[in-house]
Symmetry: none
Subunit: 158 residues, 2 copies
């Protein structure tokens, strides 16, 4: 049987799950399959800039580490940046059923209690509390025509 499951190695789509009594959350099978072998069944979860949790593949995280290691250990603002970036990062290997146990402090920070929405963001994944996501959609996420034009220019220029 040939793996016809080629195609997308990126994370796309939206999924809804709930956290079980032991604090485990399922990672969509689609996303697990999109993980490169070098990521060793491991995702790295951390705080997002919004009220959510961000998930990277282990590969992607290693890349980020490389960058952070270039920072000066003398400059206070560099240390602060590095600290902020690594402090909440936790590598998680998913179990044989495809679940991970997300640290409580991350769940709390994202306001997650039971249900979650998992969103594919191409090279990373976001985990949201459903009602908080809804609130963001109604306010923070609103983009006007100007915003969109600015973004369009940005992607074309670089």
């Amino acid at each position: 049987m040939l793996k016809r499951e080629m195609g997308t190695k990126t994370f796309t789509g939206e999924f809804r799950y709930s956290i079980d009594a032991k604090g485990r959350v399922n990672i969509p099978a689609k996303f697990r399959k999109a993980l490169p072998d070098t990521s060793e069944d491991t995702f790295v979860v951390t705080r997002g800039l919004d009220e959510n949790i961000v998930v990277y593949s282990l590969d992607k995280w290693r890349q980020k580490e490389e960058e952070l290691l270039k920072l000066s250990s003398i400059k206070p603002e560099h240390r602060a940046f590095k600290r902020q970036a690594t402090r909440f990062a936790t590598p998680l290997k998913f179990d044989s059923q495809g679940r991970v146990a997300i640290p409580i402090n991350l769940l709390q920070n994202a306001g997650i209690e039971k249900d979650v929405v998992i969103i594919g963001m191409i090279d990373e994944i976001e985990i949201w509390d459903p009602s908080i996501l809804e609130r963001y959609e109604e306010t923070e996420f609103r983009l006007d025509a100007e915003d969109i034009e600015a973004i369009d220019n940005y992607t074309r220029s670089s």
Copy 2:
């Protein structure tokens, strides 16, 4: 049986412990496992540049020693720097339960009494007093959008 437990050999995440009656602090199991064999169950603790304690793997410390040896023994400021970096460095082997006894002067300098926050910083570890860390977060560490962008560019360019 080969340890296939590869994954991340770096220090990440945040942990909270307290110092027991005998002055011992736990080192997160995750960090102990991340130690290379050549570090012989030993961490080197020393003063941080912030009001905290910094912990290196024995390997990493040896590297730092190499660098310090390159300094001139004639130039006063080189001697001062070398002295400052070495004076408080103490190698500590953790016991069978994974704890180390940190020298009192380091604890005092970091304002640590009972509770500690241990933060993984990729290639080193920081130990903080919880309330001091909090204070730093609110003041010294505050990075505005400009700072962040500057640092981000820094890591990408080099």
